[in-house]
């Protein structure tokens, strides 16, 4: 299987004197779940931000489905079908869960007049189904801001799903969620991957989670790509163990 949907080649990004990413190359295969791990401050989130267009990269290339996207804006990239969730969960706090879903439908083909269209029944049904999928159906009329942190993460995930992305970039989806809920979330991520065919690139610190889900894992340290391989290869890689535990 070699059908890359995201290809990063030699991406460099520095903020002033701080080199956040240096010569990072990474490939995400279509339909796969790819993991990205590394100690805090190793440049994972910077790499995510570069991919989705939050800041221009210094050099290198980012290709999505064969198209160079390193010069595009955040919204343009999102409309191509490359979506991200945030490490610090972001939802529309003063709107109800259902409204959060309604406004997250894909805007790819939105024309000017679509700004004034009303929510169609199919959209509402799809929103309710996806809320049921993440277990928030009962809370659909509640203000999103009144949900617990874990529930907000689930809502953000459901919002990403209704946007029908080709690739979903998840920044620490299980951070701050209680262990019981984590199992449910892993299960849903896997189902979203299998049933909706969504390719995923996941930053994760929870080794049990990422080893269990990903087909391939990349490990970063100090802004550089340290290792890449299957979960078992990564688990036995001396460099990775050193990076996490500190080598002396």
């Amino acid at each position: 299987m070699n059908d890359p949907i995201i290809e990063l080649t030699n991406v460099c990004k520095s903020f002033g004197g701080v080199i956040a990413n240096h010569d990072v190359s990474l490939t995400v295969q279509r339909g796969a779940i790819t993991g990205l791990i590394g100690p805090n401050g190793s440049g994972k989130t910077t790499l995510f931000n570069s991919i989705v267009g939050y800041h221009p990269i210094d050099s290198g290339s980012i290709r999505f489905d064969g198209q160079e996207i390193s010069q595009l804006h955040v919204q343009e990239i999102a409309r191509l079908g490359l979506l991200r969730t945030f490490q610090t969960t972001r939802i529309y706090g003063k709107m109800s869960c259902l409204q959060n879903m309604q406004i997250s439908i894909p805007h790819r083909k939105a024309r000017f007049v679509d700004m004034f269209s009303c929510a169609r029944t199919e959209v509402l049904e799809q929103a309710e189904q996806l809320l049921a999928f993440v277990g928030l159906y009962e809370k659909r009329f509640l203000r999103a801001g009144s949900l617990s942190f874990g529930q907000q993460k689930l809502l953000e995930f459901a919002m990403a799903l209704i946007n029908e992305p080709t690739v979903l970039l998840l920044d620490e989806p299980t951070a701050g969620i209680n262990p019981t809920l984590i199992n449910g979330l892993i299960d849903r991520l896997k189902r979203a991957n299998a049933e909706f065919g969504i390719t995923m690139l996941i930053i994760e610190h929870n080794m049990r989670v990422i080893m269990n889900m990903a087909n391939k894992i990349y490990c970063m340290a100090h802004g550089e790509m340290l290792a890449a391989g299957t979960p078992s290869e990564i688990q036995n890689d001396k460099n990775v163990i050193d990076a996490y535990l500190g080598a002396h």
């Binding site: 955040v74 972001r90 529309y92 709107m95 700004m115 004034f116 309710e128 159906y137 509640l142 617990s148």
Partner: protein, 360 residues
């Protein structure tokens, strides 16, 4: 869909009040007419300030722009504007009834269109700014416009323009402008009611709650922001045209671009009534207009002290406003449910059943 209920009682009362006020209290027709203008001010300010989270200090720009556009059109249709506004003019110019109404109708339409176009043009500049910078940037636009008009001889500069005189009795004139402002307020409210029920309402709410998230979700945020600004400008332009003719004399600093009175009032009314709610600006405008008329009548000289006190009280103790407070107290009346409502039960479990170990 969980939109707010339609509040037929409130709408009925509003319409009834609008029709009954000039019949019951003919002495206060002008004051009530200004109340409708205030409702237009507050409701249009709330599109950006409340629903979209962009606090503009420059909305008055479109009011003044509309006022001057209509004046220029009304005069320019029949006379040379430079001659009409010239201080050296000694001849008395009279507009016939047909001239007056044709000019007024065309001028009002032109005012709305011109204000909308100016909004589109300025949106390139102001929407590069966010938060307090947006507020100051928009204020800059309004102040600059007032200064520009003040030194532009062709439109009368700081001396202003005497508008064409209404061809009719004073009482007819009062009722005429009252009906126009009442009609405009009803049109604005009906339009906003519809607008907030579409995706547009959801999108500008999303921009208010988290603009960066909205961008990350692929929303055309800039398109929404520019359209919202243009809609507000359009109605303010028309309001300016009507008010300019109602007062009969326009000048840049105190009537067309009153940055320290009307401009502040519109924000204050929204804060008083409740930001980001449909009825908040209306309630705020009514309460504010009453407070304003009472202080202006009985405490003349102290009215701005009272106004300042009101600002302090609202900002410090009553930030959610009257309607915001009511919504917290009686959420069910506003379509916000704390407990899940049971409806459309059948569509719930198609395909994807909720998982047993779902969210707690």
């Amino acid at each position: 869909m969980s939109r707010a209920p339609s509040h037929p009682l409130a709408i009925g009362l509003l319409l009834l009040a609008g029709v009954a006020a000039p019949l019951l209290f003919p002495a206060y027709t002008n004051q009530v007419a200004v109340l409708w203008l205030m409702i237009v001010f507050a409701s249009t300010w709330d599109i950006l300030g409340g629903q979209m989270g962009y606090n503009s200090l420059g909305n008055i720009f479109f009011f003044g722009a509309g006022m001057y556009t209509s004046a220029v059109v009304q005069i320019g249709l029949y006379y040379d504007v430079g001659m009409y506004t010239s201080g050296a003019r000694t001849t008395h110019i009279v507009f016939t009834t047909a001239q007056y109404f044709t000019g007024f109708a065309l001028g009002t339409v032109a005012a709305g269109v011109a204000a909308a176009l100016l909004a589109l043009a300025t949106s390139w500049i102001v929407f590069g700014l966010r938060g307090p910078y947006f507020a100051i940037g928009t204020l800059g636009v309004a102040v600059a416009a007032a200064e520009l008009i003040s030194s532009w001889e062709w439109v009368g500069a700081a001396a202003g323009i005497s508008m064409p005189v209404f061809p009719g009795a004073p009482d007819t004139q009062k009722l005429f402008f009252y009906s126009l402002l009442f009609g405009l307020a009803v049109a604005v409210l009906a339009f906003l009611r519809w607008l907030y029920s579409t995706n547009f309402g959801l999108a500008i709410n999303a921009i208010r709650d988290d603009e960066e998230k909205a961008e990350a979700m692929g929303l055309y945020t800039r398109r929404y922001k520019r359209t919202a600004w243009t809609i507000a400008a359009f109605f303010l332009g028309i309001a300016g045209a009507i008010f300019g003719n109602m007062t009969g004399f326009i000048e840049p600093r105190d009537i067309a671009f009153p940055t320290t009175t009307f401009n502040i009032f519109m924000i204050l009314m929204v804060l008083l009534g409740g930001k980001g709610t449909f009825w908040g600006p209306v309630v705020g405008a009514v309460v504010f207009q009453i407070i304003k008329e009472v202080t202006w009548t009985y405490f003349l000289g102290w009215q701005f002290v009272a106004l300042g006190l009101l600002i302090v009280i609202i900002v410090v103790y009553f930030q959610q406003g009257i309607v915001g407070w009511l919504m917290e107290k009686y959420p069910a009346r506003f379509g916000i449910s704390a407990a899940p409502k049971e409806r459309k039960e059948s569509s719930r479990t198609i395909g994807l059943a909720p998982h047993p170990e779902g969210a707690e």
